[in-house]
Symmetry: C2
Subunit: 453 residues, 2 copies
C-alpha cells in the first residue's frame, strides 16, 4: 500500500510523519517541488535581518532525516498531474528535467499557498521579490549582498509586509511601506491599526495607506535593476522591493484531478480532511475549513493550523478500513504577529464579521497594564472583546501591545468552549502583581459588555 | 435601608462599591479594623525591597474617596459582635477606645484571613514579623531602618515566603529559608518545586526543606532583639525573621453570629454568596467556594477571587426583592507567583488531588521554548497537564518558567469550558515565531496524553 503526499512543508511533512507512526508498513513517498522539506516559512522575514542566522535552522527535517524515518522524500519533484482513476501521478524531476510517472493507492495533497504577484509594471526588474519560499529568501539575501540597497519598499501592510518592514529596518534600510487599503493590518479594526501605524512611524518606517502601487522602475538606467516604486503618481526610491500582496491556495492539481473547490477558492474537505475524491485527503494552506464561531467556510492559511490539519489527514490516510478516524473540527481565525516591539493578535469574529454572520455584536475596549498599577515595568495592553447581544456568547477579540499572545489565547480557548461574558466575568484566571491587574483585561471587558446586555 | 460591610480590603470594598451602583439610595457603612482601606495585599512583599516605592500606591481607594462615593468607611473600627436577631453590631473604635453599637438591615461579612503564627519559641522577639497587613510592612520597614539587618530568615516556602525571600535578597540581605515540608511550594509537584529550589540556590538563598523551626533567639543579649533562627538543632544568624506559615480565615464574628462554617474552616456560602443566616452575605478570604473540577468545598484566599466574589455579594446585598441575583459558580484553584526570574502557576487539580477527587489522572510533561526554536531569546517553558483517563477531560495544570501566566490562563479557561484533550489538540491558539513553538506546549501536552488514553 502506497501513500503519496504532494507537498512537503508543514501539513505534508506532519501528515507523512503521522502516517508512518500509524502504519509502519505503509510505503510513503513525499513529493516536494522546492529543494528543501519541512521549512519554517513563518521564520523567513527574520532571516532577512539575520535575527535568524542560519538557513539550516529554518529546516525542521531534511529529506535525509525523512529517509531515516522510512519516508521517501523526493525534493525538486514537481507533480503536474493526478490521474485518480488509474491512481497515477505524473510530473517532472526538476534537477534532471526527466518526467516521471508513479502509482499510488492513497493520496494526500498539501500543495500549500503561493505569493500573489499582481501585474505591477516593472515586476520583472531585478530586486523585486515575493517572500514565500526559503528560496525567495535566498534570492533576497543574495541581492542585498550584491547591491547593498540603502532604501527598500514593501508592498502590502499585512503581517508579512509588516514583519519584513521591521527586519529591513533592523538591517539599516530606509523603508517605505505602501498599502492599498485604508489602514495596515486590514483584518484588524482601526484602533489596533492606528496603534500599529503610530509604532511604525516611531520606528522610522514611511507608511502610505490608501495608495495603490503603479509599478517599479529602473530609473532609466536600462540595467534591469529596480530603483524606485511609484504609487498614485508619487515615487519613492527603492533598490529592493518586497511584494507582500497576499497569498493564494495552490489548488490546480487537486482541481484538475476532480476534487471539489470550495467557495473560498481553497480545496473543500470534510472534518476528516477528505476531499470529494475517495482516497484523497488534503491539508494545509490549500484547504478551507469551518469557522467555529460563524460557521462559514474559512480559509486560514497558517503554519500551526496546517500542522494540526496534517496530523488529522496523515493519521486518517494511514488507517486501516474500520478504524475510527480523527477529526479536525475547524478554526477560529486566530492569528498573531509582532511588528517591532508590538504584539498584535486576533481570534474569532470582529464586529463587522459578526454582524455579517448574523450575530448582534456588542463590544468593549480595555486599555490596561501588563502588571498591577503599583508594580514597575508594566506596559500597555489593549483588548477589544466582542460578544453577541442576545446570547452573551463571546464571538471574538483583537488585542495589541504587551501580552497580546496571552490575551488572544485566553479568548481563543473561551471561543472553543463557547463561553459567555457571564463565564468570563467569574473566570478564575491567574493573578499576581508582576503579571497583570487583579482582574484580567478579559474579565474587565466581559464586565463592561455584561453591563450593556 | 442600611447595608453594613465588615472588612474593607478586597471583597468588602468591591462589594460596597457594587452595592452603591446597584442601589444609589442604600445607606452603606464599611467597618475596617486597620487604618487603611482597599489595600493591595499582594503587593506587600514588593514594598520591602522598594520595588513598590510608595505606601500610598498600595491603597486603591482611601476612606475619603469612599466617602465621596457615598460609602461611609469607618477605619480603626473593630466589629466584635453581631446580634443578628436584633440586627445590631457592637464593637470598638480603636482610635478613641470607645465602644459602639449600630444597627443594620443587611450584613456583608468580608473579614478576610490572617497570618498564622505557630507557637515558636521567641516569636515575641523584636524583629520577628508576619506579613499580612499593610501595617505589618510598616513595622518591618521600620525595623530594617533602625537595625539594618544583614541576615534574614524566612519561615515557610509558600508563595508569600518565596516572594519575601526574593525581595529581601534584592535589598542586599543574606536569606535563609526554612520549610517544614519536603519541598518549597507545597501545592506544586516535585518537578516544579525542584526548579524553584534550583533557582533560589542560583540567587543565593539558603534553602532548608524538611526542617521544622524550633524558634528564635536573641543570642543571649537579653535585649529582646532577634539574632538567630534554630531548626532541627541547627542555627542560622538572622536579625530579621518573616514568618510565612500560612493564613487562616477570620470566621469568629460570623460563627458567633450563627453562620454555618464549612468543612474547610471558612464560612459556608451558596452561589449567591449568602451565608446560612438570611440577610447575611459573605465574600473574600473568609469564605469557602466550590471547586469547579473536583466539586469539593475549597478555600481559595486570593485577591482576584475576593474581588469577583465581592462583586456578586455586593450586587446581591443591594438588590430589591424579586430582582435576579448574580451567582459566583466557584473556583479552579488557579494561582501564580513570581520568584526572582521564574513564574510559577497552577490551576485545577494536580495528579494526587485528582485521584482523591475520584478521577483517573494521566499526565504529560512538556519542556518547550517561549519562541520558535530558531528565533533568538527563547526561554524555557515547563508545563505539566493532567487529564482524566476515562473521559479525556482536562483536570489541571502546573507550569513554571517563561509564559507561566499564559500557560495557566489557557488551561484555566479550558477547565472552565470543560474541554477535553481532544479539544486542546486542535485548539486554534495563536502562533508566530516570537511567541512560542508552532504548536503550543498546551497542544503538545494534550497530544501526548491523547496517546496514553
Amino acid at each position: 500500500m502506497r501513500l503519496a503526499v504532494v507537498g512537503g512543508v508543514a501539513a505534508g511533512t506532519k501528515a507523512a510523519s503521522r502516517a508512518r507512526r500509524v502504519d509502519p508498513e505503509l510505503d510513503i513517498v513525499l513529493y516536494q517541488e522546492e529543494p528543501d522539506t519541512s521549512i519554517s516559512e513563518c521564520g523567513l522575514p527574520y532571516r532577512l535581518s539575520g535575527t535568524v542566522g542560519s538557513r539550516d535552522s529554518l529546516i525542521a527535517r531534511t529529506p535525509e532525516e525523512f529517509g531515516e524515518k522510512g519516508i521517501e522524500a523526493r525534493v525538486l519533484h514537481r507533480v503536474e498531474r493526478v490521474d485518480h482513476e488509474r491512481r497515477v501521478l505524473t510530473g517532472r524531476n526538476l534537477k534532471t528535467g526527466e518526467p516521471f510517472e508513479e502509482g499510488y493507492d492513497r493520496l494526500l495533497i498539501s500543495t500549500g499557498a503561493r505569493a500573489k504577484m499582481p501585474p505591477f509594471e516593472g515586476s520583472e526588474l531585478a530586486g523585486v521579490f515575493p517572500l514565500r519560499f526559503l528560496t525567495d529568501s535566498d534570492a533576497i539575501l543574495e541581492h542585498i549582498r550584491e547591491h547593498s540597497p540603502g532604501r527598500a519598499a514593501v508592498v502590502g501592510g499585512g503581517y508579512i509586509g509588516l514583519e519584513v518592514a521591521e527586519n529591513l529596518v533592523s538591517l539599516g534600510l530606509e523603508v517605505t511601506l505602501v498599502e492599498s487599503a485604508g489602514h495596515v493590518a486590514a483584518a484588524y479594526g482601526s484602533e489596533v491599526a492606528g496603534k500599529i501605524q503610530d509604532h511604525l512611524a516611531e520606528k522610522g518606517v514611511s507608511v502610505h495607506t490608501g495608495q495603490r502601487v503603479d509599478g517599479f522602475s529602473d530609473g532609466g538606467h536600462g540595467d534591469g535593476q529596480v530603483r524606485s516604486i511609484s504609487f498614485e503618481g508619487r515615487e519613492a526610491p527603492a533598490e529592493l522591493v518586497i511584494v507582500g500582496a497576499g497569498i493564494e491556495p495552490v489548488v490546480e492539481l487537486a482541481e484538475e484531478a476532480g476534487a471539489e473547490i470550495g467557495v473560498t477558492g481553497a480545496i473543500r474537505v470534510n472534518e476528516r480532511m477528505e476531499t470529494s475524491l475517495p482516497g484523497v485527503w488534503a491539508a494545509g494552506d490549500n484547504v478551507e475549513s469551518s469557522h467555529l464561531v460563524g460557521g462559514a467556510p474559512t480559509w486560514a492559511p497558517l503554519g500551526d493550523t496546517a500542522n494540526q490539519m496534517g496530523r488529522v489527514a496523515g493519521t486518517n490516510a494511514a488507517l486501516a478500513d474500520g478504524d475510527t478516524p480523527l477529526e479536525f473540527p475547524g478554526v477560529l481565525g486566530t492569528g498573531i504577529f509582532k511588528v517591532f516591539d508590538l504584539g498584535v493578535a486576533k481570534t474569532g469574529l470582529l464586529e463587522s464579521d459578526a454582524a455579517e454572520a448574523g450575530f448582534s455584536p456588542v463590544s468593549a475596549t480595555v486599555e490596561a497594564g501588563s502588571s498591577a498599577g503599583y508594580y514597575p515595568g508594566g506596559q500597555e495592553v489593549f483588548l477589544k472583546l466582542v460578544a453577541d447581544k442576545d446570547s452573551g456568547r463571546v464571538l471574538g477579540a483583537e488585542t495589541c501591545g504587551a501580552q497580546a499572545d496571552k490575551m488572544v489565547d485566553i479568548c481563543a480557548t473561551a471561543l472553543w468552549g463557547r463561553l459567555t461574558v457571564a463565564d468570563l466575568i467569574n473566570l478564575d484566571l491567574a493573578y499576581a502583581p508582576p503579571f497583570g491587574p487583579a482582574l484580567s483585561p478579559v474579565i474587565q471587558a466581559a464586565t463592561i459588555i455584561s453591563g450593556k446586555l
